[in-house]
Symmetry: D5
Subunit: 149 residues, 10 copies
């Protein structure tokens, strides 16, 4: 355990987040997502919820302000207007931690196509269906650096 | 770059610090220290000073309160009473970041013996001789965890 | 996710449990335990509590009935009679899942010595101090095999 | 051996099944199938029959209900209407373990093309010709999770 | 599948047997044996019985005639005179395939000590307790080589 | 050395042959063949002739009866009608060990193209030019399995 | 530490520079650059500024004189005429260390495309935005070799 | 050191040459050649001249007589008719060691394209510019084998 | 194939011989020798006789003249005075290729102890029992170097 | 090639020298030295003389002034007073490059014992016997750092 670093972030995930840069995507996937066959390196987070993981990552990672869309969720198959509970919670976490960003719903196979280009996938045990989220890393500005060099 | 995490800590060092636990030692070595032949895994920090690295690590890692000694430096060969400038700065950083701990001077080859048992060695480019420090990780108490689970 | 298998058990932990046999020990460690420097392979379970992990493992792994002691916890340093809340919960889980076994308290450094000989260490994010448990795998008897061959 | 987990599933296969998600395919191949040159990672199951393996996998893995076809076998070369004994047994196992799904026959080289895109291949010692089966993993719904978190 | 080679022998086991020489030991272990923590490389044979594996190995591997003992089984704990059914079958297989050799019973922990020095361990799914066997490889004499060079 | 297995087959080659299936090709190459730059994994057999190797492989591997051509050799450059001595010997070995199959001559660069798609290449020390052979693995039928399961 | 070699260059970076040749590109990236997802091997330089790194590399590496452009920086998004402070410093360092070369500004995504073809990426902790530089290695002429052979 | 084998050939280069066959190319590159970014495996020969290396390789490797061109050098950029001293020496070595072959000059980027398809690159410390050579391996005929089998 | 290098020496063996120095031992083992469990790296030579291999190695490797014994064979168990045919051939080869050295017979388990300290083991298919030989590498003197530098 | 860095130092050797620290030893070995069986990592320098290598290393590496002996050579076996030509050249290079240090002769097997504890071994092609040298790295003092930070 380390002071000032969110405890849900294990060694591999901290390593991954530190290597990500402006414009890189990270997928937070639920327990049914085919993480292993997507291509990007997978960091397992068995026993962790997708919403908890979203909160942990957004504690340290800003979202991208250079582009119109910076967060995405998967549309419900056959009911594209639905907003599952877990997705509503995703939006609350993004709004609270990252700012005024709207999570954009994406059709299932288009979501897969985006996931294949992500830098990393974090595979959670989120039980609720459609508990998948893609986040694009933004820029940390010089004035945000809290510790001197 | 990540928010709230000291920027001197690279991916490998973050990974290492996260895997360390109560009682594990980490060596911050200067540019002349024989890091590679000690045995523990070495994380290079070329271009970083030992004092900057000490400050970065102590930002997130507590020292051990279960034992009488928790930080050590190398004695000057032939002048065991000397306190080189870099060591005085180490003491200031420990006092500021970690609390009321005294860095204990240790004879050169005894210091090597301690280094051989450390969990990790961080090899800096500290130019000043005797810029070596060993820190023992302490416990993070439940009330110190800043983020909910 | 798989049917009939406890969801806290990720791929690496399932792999590990399947390779363990009669008399092998597994350590469930808390967030301050020095898992990485003990020696046995470490399986990270960041974000999972030690009690949840104990329940998950004991769902599928029996304890050893060939020996007088089969489960151990770490004594509180300086207060060997204390039974921390997390340890009381360990005892409830063992009694419920594994049967009439008593968890034996062991002095801190003797506990480390036992951990160094374990088959695996599962490193949880258990915040509560002394949230460490060692379990010795028992025998699965032929009549307990639920599925035909 | 573990309680409640089918004994035919070895460490590598448990690991593989746990990493698979919704829509991922797994091939159960017979003793003559060119498993090694297909591309996906191969898990050997020498000495195990394809029907036993199908039963073991379907004990823990649901089939996909989002698509019209979710299980496939190889057509007999030169006799596409034939239903070999081993294939009839496959259908019985699927019906018993997974539900009302029909195994779809596929021409030999089309079957190879599907196998090249699978997540994993399990290479059994099934002696009987045409003892090959592809299964597509379905979704585990929250109410199916048997153990609390 | 290959002609003239016992089908229970997978690629890794064939490789192992071919590298073994005069005096090397191989352990055939049951489903409860702690194969992974013994030290020698482990070849998994999930779904295969120990008796079937013994028959497969002895089809191609002679036993050692240079020493008084060349095959060992584990004594029943607390009942050293007992001969479990699986051990009686081991003796039948050895007599049939290898010749007039007696399988020597060995106390549990002495058996573990022998296993730690073996060249390989084959981990079967033998359900029956005490289904463990150690075999010492003998010499193949020039006149036994069936194929010309 | 193992009983009943051709002694020219080393551990790596036995492993390779066991993983090959119906329709997979294996190249037996002479001492001048550019084995290493073809792509498939190469198994060295320095000191072994190509004809000896062909005999060893065909002792255990059947040829494919599902296709019109199942064995190929390289045509002599500039003299496509020539049948070098080593190729005549190849034909004798195929006829004796595998049955009534004709080895088909193939132009040099077309032979290279076929070799690039093979499962394995066995690189012998055959001195004689044009001592290269490609063999396609066939099916082992259930009645050909010599040992019970 | 070594005499006559710039101390900012760690073991991995020295190794990389020594393997580079005429026409190879190296990227010096700032703390927000997505180094890890570009493709080329990444050498971390956490705690080092991009300008310091540029000076260190140009101490030992000449720029290419065979082509019209040999150094590039990223244009400010939305303000292509701007010359950020860090870029002005890059130009001073290039002029001082390498000679009369102009650093060419390149649009953000075109810069990414160039980075994907580089031989190496050095990931610094440069805080200032747009602190990214690509340098093309030139030829060391025989008369520049300082040490005899 | 070995008797009868040219001492400039180290373990990795001997290994490489032994795996090469008829038609494979090897690049001998000078100290400025971008060996590492070409693709083929690189064998370092720091401190060795390209001419010395050419002589060492041609001591044991014949050139290809099946094709009109079997050796190539890089044309001087801007002066395609020039024959640098090092290239003249290459021609002398080829003529002396390999026979009546002409080294063909190739434009710089076409030379790079050929190098990308080579089996190996030997990276020497040749100081002189344009000290690069590609050699195509020929056939060793049976009568050239000096040692009996 | 290479000119002037014995064709029985494959890439791995050439690599090994080149890395050996004065006083290093190499074991040439027969088909029954337990090469894999001795410890030193094993180079397989399936299909090659031990006598052929001895001749190949001694073509390029001198024996040690600094010590009284430089070659050893295994004594026949139970008949220490016997000189098997294969051992007599070993002596002829040593005398012809290396000079006036006597191969010293060593008791079986003492031979194993020597083999455990060797630099490499070459595992041949020598069928004849006791076809094992240990050779100690000697010095190549400057005047023996055949090729200039 | 790099400016200001001795050209005999390849990528692996530069990497090694950079990781060495105060008190670490490096062995420069001749062509007959058993480098591979000593234990420390070996960096090949085939084609380079030991004297050239000594000069290259001492260009950048200081010798140790904290101890009475800092450089060693191997005594001539049977003639401990002899000073071979190559050793006299070693002394000249040390005196010129490193300062007033005397190379200490050490008996052959004591020299081996020292070599086994070295950080690295550089295996040259030095033909002359006794061309072996051990050097102990010293301290680079802050005022010797040529380039600013």
């Amino acid at each position: 355990m380390l002071r000032g670093i969110h405890p849900l972030l294990g060694p591999d995930l901290l390593h991954a987040l530190k290597t990500m840069g402006h414009g890189d995507d990270i997928v937070i996937s639920d327990a049914n997502f085919p993480s292993g066959s997507m291509g990007p390196p997978v960091i397992r987070a068995d026993g962790v919820s997708a919403t908890g993981m979203a909160e942990a990552i957004l504690t340290h990672m800003p979202l991208d302000t250079f582009v119109p869309e910076t967060a995405w969720r998967m549309e419900v198959v056959g009911d594209p207007q639905a907003v599952p509970e877990v997705c509503a919670e995703f939006q609350q976490i993004v709004s609270k931690r990252a700012g005024d960003f709207r999570i954009v719903p994406v059709e299932r196979f288009a979501f897969y196509a985006m996931a294949r280009k992500a830098a990393y996938i974090v595979a959670t045990s989120e039980f609720r269906l459609y508990g998948n989220l893609i986040l694009k890393k933004g820029v940390v500005h010089p004035h945000e650096v809290e510790f001197g060099r």
